[in-house]
């Protein structure tokens, strides 16, 4: 069965530290890739997406992610985190028009 793995369950960083959250998936075909973020008390919202084209995608608030097909990965990065980035981050994948499969999420805490 298709699956999405987020190996970092809980990440704690100080402000200005760099961030990389891992996401790996098990699909063999063409995929769409997403990172969603859920800030405390807010809706789950889209952070960035990859459908095709440049494998390095930019999202809101300075986040970016790189699709590496050979590694089945779509890691999320930010060079310098802020306290306001404290949230839960979910990677999600689907095969073209199929249902989204979500990872288990990574809880990020940023301390000032």
């Amino acid at each position: 069965a298709q699956s999405v793995s987020q190996h970092n369950h809980h990440v704690i960083l100080s402000e200005a530290a760099s961030l990389e959250l891992g996401c790996n998936y098990s699909y063999g075909g063409t995929v769409n890739l997403f990172w969603y973020v859920q800030y405390p008390g807010q809706h789950l919202q889209l952070l960035l997406k990859y459908f095709s084209g440049d494998p390095l995608v930019k999202g809101i608030k300075g986040f970016e992610a790189e699709f590496i097909k050979s590694k089945f990965s779509f890691n999320l990065r930010k060079p310098s985190v802020q306290w306001s980035d404290t949230a839960e981050y979910f990677c999600a994948v689907n095969e073209v028009t199929d249902k989204l499969i979500f990872g288990t999420g990574t809880r990020l805490q940023v301390f000032p």
Binding site: V4, Q6, H9, N32, F34, Y36, H43, L44, Q45, L46, K49, F51, F90, A92, V96, T97, K99, L100, I101, F102, G103, T104, G105
Partner: protein, 114 residues
């Protein structure tokens, strides 16, 4: 612009009581609609999805059911709640049409079954 409404925000129900959670979408036609359950450390589990009125697909066997009586209305129900039904339920929509889509989520309902 499109908006998604989900209510109630929180709900406390006794075991064995019925459940009805409602989700409506505005500003779009013929959306795909989804019900997820979010559990700590487990991510989002897809419970039901619908590509049109009266068309419901169930992803996991459970005590819950879903209905889509109108194009932009999606209801999650149970005849008799179990303790294990406690959780955070999210409704979502996308524009369908067979193209890669972004899903948009409601604010969620936190259900506690006591």
């Amino acid at each position: 612009s499109q908006t998604i409404h989900q209510w109630p925000a929180t709900l406390v129900q006794p075991v064995g009581s019925p459940l009805s959670l409602e989700c409506t979408v505005e500003g779009t036609s013929n959306p795909n609609l989804y019900w997820y359950r979010q559990a700590a450390g487990r991510g989002l589990q897809l419970l039901f999805y619908s590509v049109g009125i009266g068309q419901i697909s169930s992803e996991v066997p459970q005590n819950l059911s879903a209905s889509r009586p109108q194009d932009r209305q999606f209801i999650l129900s149970s005849k008799k709640l179990l303790l294990s039904d406690s959780g955070f339920y999210l409704c979502a929509w996308d524009s369908g049409g067979g193209l890669p889509n972004i899903q948009y989520f409601g604010a969620g309902t936190r259900l506690s079954v006591l």
